[in-house]
């Protein structure tokens, strides 16, 4: 720790702090453009100049100078930093004047207007006139993909975008060509960027040079109502802010949460919002004579009641989809239980996870932030870059810190960091449990992390593989006091929550595969289940949001609310309970799903014991107390993994397949989004070009 005086305030900070951090610790505000906490230091915008005593007698870039670089005074006084002195004021004004020499005055037509760092800082630290009479420089706009719109004349060359793509996203695609006044940001030959995190460069851009293309000219920041919520595109549970104008979601932005997504979100999370407006189910439908006909709520309920009447409880089933909230899953389970059915399943992909094995057997035990404490990683049957892009960035961050051996069993994929490819399937895994160099690496590690993807578990021998992985985790010492390195990476936002409330078949109940097979059940309630084919025969009641696969198969469609239109609990892959808030209202006659289930239960004569969401939550929390602890991860009992390690089973020899093949099209909202379709087409053409 070193003492330093910032504007007469003495603070004690670690010596490796930069002056900028020390100034912030002392409560002084330092303007900056190029500096960003999560990126390397560039020191090229010069906006953070401060005056120092104990260092060179000129304005210093505070982002690029450490506290330990300053000398104490002659009598041992701490070094002094001045952030409000005349020299600093003049230096900032000078830098701002230089930055504005070539910056266009197009704020009225700039999408960054109102949330622009340059605008704000010019107001705060700049001067009110320009002495510059020469022509301004103009720069050609570059094409860098369908998600990011460029207006390169506005660029102030902070290179945050270049550093982000290279360091965090792990793809060297953006670069700064030319030099001096002619420096320009571009991709190689203006190819579209391929990263799944590229939308973040628009957030990082301190000016309007990189903006979000789908959002271009749609709204102004001050018109938008901001709602803090949680993302459901993957099981990471990224914290988001949903910006709405009236009933419309205008955009989705990341929200800071150090434990989950830091401040990044994936492109699917960010650009999904146009899918919320298309293909929506805005009224109930009933299939009459083979065709879906629009109906009123009472008609739809009557059709269901007529069908359910006389059907035995064990001939009724329920599927919980991948975007369902915990409340809905709980309500559906309660409804089915009251009708005497144990046929409920949330595992559309047939993944062999079972709450009976203990919570530790199906959550990401080490937690996402815990990845940074791990010192060896084995990835089994997963492609985290596509299954959980933000989590993959965290693995990359850990890898960048060094001394992090990574092994992979499964498909050969580009994860943005190097790994040791160990093999394709269960055979390799079996070998690892016994011998193998990588097993020795894992054993030698203090906190090894075993990451199991859904690709390894969503198969007939999934239970055996899960047990094998647990055995490996136990044998290499990944499960011990203070560290549980057994990590199941989910792909569905609803999965962990549904498993938590026990949405799996009860005694003599049928699982998802059995229910959807011919002759499985007579009546099937599908709660947003779009990732599974339901065989003809069953009467399907689909409660969902989009006219996707589930709705096409349905006999009765009940329109529900999407994740931005309801308040609900989601549990992410690490078991973190988070609340999504309502930012907009469902379209047309669509209603919140729990309310639909409650109304339906009344019609079916099995009235659920709650009339409000608060009552539903009270019942839910009574049954599952850990769900009441919002934003908290309830550590799972590691005994579950140890018990699992003892389970037997013989895995087959087939290689693991990735759970997510089409990153941009994993759920009905994404499939309804034109932006996602464009990204998907681009990605597949890139794949085809690479295969040539």
């Amino acid at each position: 720790m070193a003492k330093i005086i910032v504007d007469d305030i003495e603070v004690e900070v670690p010596a490796e702090y930069t002056l900028l951090q020390a100034c912030e610790a002392a409560g002084a505000e330092i303007p900056r453009f190029c500096f960003h906490e999560r990126l390397s230091i560039a020191g090229n915008c010069r906006m953070c100049l401060v005056e120092v005593k104990g260092g060179p007698p000129k304005p210093q870039a505070s982002c690029a100078m450490n506290v330990r670089d300053l000398r104490p005074g002659p009598n041992g006084e701490p070094p002094v930093v001045l952030t409000k002195s005349p020299m600093v004021k003049k230096a900032r004004e000078g830098v701002m004047e230089f930055l504005l020499i070539n910056h266009p005055l197009d704020c009225p037509i700039c999408d960054q207007g109102g949330e622009c760092d340059l605008q704000d800082q010019a107001m705060a630290y700049g001067v009110d006139t320009s002495r510059y009479a020469e022509n301004k420089r103009a720069v050609e706009d570059k094409y860098i993909g369908p998600l990011i719109k460029t207006s390169m004349t506005r660029c102030i060359q902070c290179t945050r975008c270049v550093r982000f793509t290279t360091e965090v996203a792990g793809v060297s695609e953006l670069g700064a060509i030319g030099r001096g006044e002619d420096m320009e940001i571009t991709t190689y030959l203006e190819a579209a960027m391929s990263s799944e995190l590229q939308g973040n460069v628009a957030d990082l851009c301190p000016v309007g040079a990189l903006t979000q293309r789908p959002y271009a000219y749609h709204a102004r920041p001050w018109e938008l109502v901001k709602t803090e919520s949680v993302d459901v595109m993957d099981a990471v549970g990224s914290n988001i802010r949903v910006d709405t104008r009236g009933r419309e979601v205008m955009r989705v932005l990341p929200r800071l949460n150090e434990d989950v997504n830091e401040e990044w979100i994936s492109d699917k999370t960010r650009y999904i919002w146009d899918g919320l407006k298309t293909q929506r189910l805005d009224r109930p439908y009933v299939r009459v004579g083979g065709k879906l006909k629009a109906a009123s709520w009472p008609e739809a309920f009557a059709a269901i009641a007529a069908k359910v009447k006389g059907v035995a409880g064990n001939r009724i089933g329920g599927l919980v989809g991948d975007l369902a909230t915990v409340e809905e899953a709980f309500a559906l389970k309660s409804l089915l239980a009251s009708m005497g059915s144990a046929n409920i399943d949330c595992r559309q992909d047939g993944v062999k996870l079972d709450p009976a094995l203990g919570r530790a057997s199906y959550v990401f035990n080490p937690t996402i932030a815990g990845i940074e404490q791990a010192d060896a990683l084995l990835i089994i049957g997963s492609d985290p870059r596509r299954e959980a892009s933000v989590l993959n960035a965290r693995i990359r961050k850990r890898w960048l810190a060094g001394n992090f051996p990574i092994g992979l069993v499964g498909e050969h994929v580009d994860l943005t960091y190097p790994y040791e490819y160990l093999g394709a399937g269960p055979d390799t895994l079996t070998d690892l449990v016994g011998e193998g160099t990588f097993a020795a690496t894992l054993k030698g590690a203090q906190r090894p992390l075993i990451l199991i993807g859904q690709g390894a578990l969503a198969r007939a021998d999934g239970a055996a593989i899960l047990a094998l992985a647990a055995r490996l985790a136990v044998s290499v010492g990944a499960v011990k006091d203070g560290w549980n390195g057994f990590a199941v990476l989910h792909t569905a936002a609803a999965r962990v929550g549904a498993l938590d409330v026990g949405c799996v078949p009860g005694a003599n109940g049928l699982d998802a595969v059995a229910m959807t097979n011919p002759g499985g059940v007579d009546v099937l309630f599908a709660l947003g289940a779009d990732e599974i084919d339901i065989a003809p025969g069953a009467f399907v009641v689909y409660l969902g949001t989009h006219g996707d696969r589930g709705a096409h198969r349905a006999d009765v469609i009940l329109p529900g609310a999407a994740y931005t239109e309801k308040s609900g609990t989601y549990v992410n892959t690490e078991g973190r309970v988070q609340l999504a808030n309502r930012a907009a209202f469902p379209p047309g006659e669509a209603r919140e799903d729990w309310a639909v289930l409650r109304a339906l239960s009344d019609v079916l004569g099995q009235r659920l014991p709650f009339d409000t969401l608060a009552q539903l939550r009270a019942a839910l929390y009574a049954a599952h107390p850990h769900l009441a602890r919002i934003d908290h991860v309830e550590p799972a009992d590691a005994a579950g993994v140890i018990a699992l390690a003892g389970a037997g089973g013989t895995p087959e020899r087939a290689p693991f397949r990735a759970a997510v093949t089409e990153f941009y099209l994993t759920n009905p909202i994404a499939r309804a989004s034109a932006v996602m379709a464009e990204c998907s087409a681009l990605a597949s053409s890139r794949l085809a070009a690479a295969a040539e």
């Binding site: 670069g175 030319g178 030099r179 571009t186 190689y188 030959l189």
Partner: protein, 288 residues
């Protein structure tokens, strides 16, 4: 400086690969850097690629070098566009004339040289002449300011130019000859253009002055005195003067100036008598 862009697609070659000789050279160049730091070799490799391809770096060449060094293409592109020494457009087959336009050359007539280029090659820099043999550009200081104005062609410099000289040089290149490099006005390297003004005495060079220096005689005396054990009496004068030559009193400059001169000459003499005396090896050189 201006915006530098890659040559249009129709000009770009299909592919690029080093010749066997250059490939062997490139492997050696890469091996100079520690493992994992191969990217450091990008500038020499790009330069060699430019030389091989007739003076310019094509897009396939950038990708080739990037692949060779495990660099993303954008990283090579950044470097190639940053350094103006890399030509991104095709240059003249026979010569690419780089006219220095920095202050000394400009004062000595670089603008006239550029007029010749504009007249004979193309009105604009970086454009090929009609037959494709020549191109020209204005560059920043190439470091032969004494011999201004100058041009550089490939790795050679042509100095002390007049527009007529440049015409002749261009003629020679046109004929496929290689004109004589260096100063074009007959001067020897950067020797004074007016002829030598100092050290002109012929005796300096015929060996007759060897051992005749006044300081040398004094130094010999001092050495002899020390050998005889009279050191404290005789030695201090030159030693003290050599150690600290202070600002001499203005009234009497001559005596104060003399001792350091003696010391300097003594040192020079010590060098010539190396075989008999142990001396510290010259920095960077070999002690025999």
């Amino acid at each position: 400086m201006s915006v530098r862009r890659l040559a249009p697609k129709e000009v770009q070659p299909e592919s690029f690969a080093f010749t066997d000789e250059n490939l062997a050279w490139a492997e050696k160049a890469i091996a100079k850097f520690p493992a994992g730091r191969q990217a450091s070799a990008v500038i020499p490799l790009l330069m060699r690629a430019q030389e091989q391809a007739g003076g310019w770096v094509s897009e396939p060449a950038m990708r080739y070098v990037g692949d060779m060094l495990g660099m993303a293409p954008i990283r090579v592109y950044e470097i190639a566009t940053f350094y103006t020494q890399f030509q991104l457009q095709p240059v003249g087959r026979k010569a690419h004339i780089q006219v220095c336009g920095t202050t000394p050359c400009m004062l000595k007539g670089a603008e006239d040289l550029m007029k010749v280029c504009k007249k004979r090659i193309h009105a604009e820099p970086f454009h090929l002449s009609e037959n494709g043999d020549f191109s020209w550009e204005e560059v920043e200081c190439a470091g032969t300011c004494t011999n201004a104005p100058m041009i550089q062609v490939w790795k050679d410099v042509y100095e002390d130019l007049t527009p007529e000289d440049l015409d002749k040089i261009l003629d020679a290149f046109e004929r496929g000859e290689k004109p004589a490099t260096g100063p074009q006005n007959g001067r020897h390297f950067s020797a004074p253009v007016t002829g030598q003004a100092t050290l002109t005495s012929a005796e300096l060079y015929d060996g007759s002055m060897v051992g005749k220096g006044a300081g040398l005689a004094l130094a010999r005396e001092a050495i002899a005195a020390r050998a005889n054990g009279e050191a404290p009496a005789a030695a201090p004068a030159p030693a003290a003067a050599a150690a600290a030559p202070p600002a001499p009193p203005k009234s009497d400059p001559a005596p104060a100036a003399a001792p350091p001169a003696k010391a300097v000459v003594a040192a020079g003499n010590a060098d010539s008598e190396k075989p008999s005396k142990p001396v510290a090896p010259p920095p960077g050189g070999k002690a025999d």
